[in-house]
């Protein structure tokens, strides 16, 4: 069944890499919109933060996907082989989901910080004075 195992690795590798690339590109495209809103006065900063976040996303996810590749019992037949493949992809997808939500949390935190920084006074003034 060694050939089947290699086939599983090839399918897994292709799916994992294309999944990570697709996710990272989606993150990059939408992250730009998000961060440009946060760093309104510094568009270059938005690009830099976004790129760095995406690079981290690539390293973490590709590394994790590769680590997940080996392991598991040798499949004895085709059913076991497809089960192994599906299990590996399932673990990968679930982990990517968790990492994605951590990423969203980071974005949200950055935005929240910015909103607090530029917040207007939360209470109405009672009067106005000429002496300041």
């Amino acid at each position: 069944m060694d050939n089947t195992l290699i086939l599983i690795y090839v399918i897994y590798g292709t799916v994992a890499v294309s999944l990570v690339v697709w996710l990272a590109r989606t993150l990059f495209a939408n992250g730009t919109v998000f961060l440009e809103d946060v760093f309104t006065d510094k568009p270059k900063m938005a690009q830099a933060v976004n790129r760095l976040l995406v690079i981290g996303f690539y390293m973490l996810n590709l590394g994790y996907a590769l680590l997940l590749l080996p392991g598991g019992n040798r499949p004895q037949d085709n059913i076991e082989a497809s089960e192994l493949l599906i299990r590996k992809l399932g673990i990968l997808l679930a982990s990517l989901g968790v990492i994605h939500f951590v990423n969203m949390y980071v974005f949200w935190k950055i935005r929240q910080r910015r909103e607090i920084d530029i917040a207007e006074p939360p209470v109405m003034h009672r009067g106005v004075t000429s002496g300041t």
Partner: protein, 134 residues
Amino acid sequence: MTLTGITVIYDETCALCRRSAHWLMTEKAHIPLQILAAGSPAARAHFGDIPVLGDDLVVIGSDGRVWWGSPDAYIMALWALRKWRPWAIRLARPGMRRLAAAVFKRVSTHRKAIGAILGEPYCVDCAKRPAHRL
């Protein structure tokens, strides 16, 4: 309009207020804070037209807006501080506002008594210190 700084005027005749003024000065702030004693010549000269000066906490914005009393002035003082701005925003919401008003009002009314229990801040004339961390 965005504020570029605020002035906080406190009642220097009460120990709790001196203590709080000192605390305000040591906290990191979003915008420059100027802290004045209500009886100081600077406060009298610039803000003598504010009727409650000395009776209650007064906060003056760089654009001349004035907040006083509970809970507005207290919320504004917190709003200027980095660590406390999220709390200021929370306390200003309708539900929390009433609670905040009650608490600050009570503390303000009994400030002399509370100050007597807590005692003096560890530096007596610290409120005169002009330097402020941002």
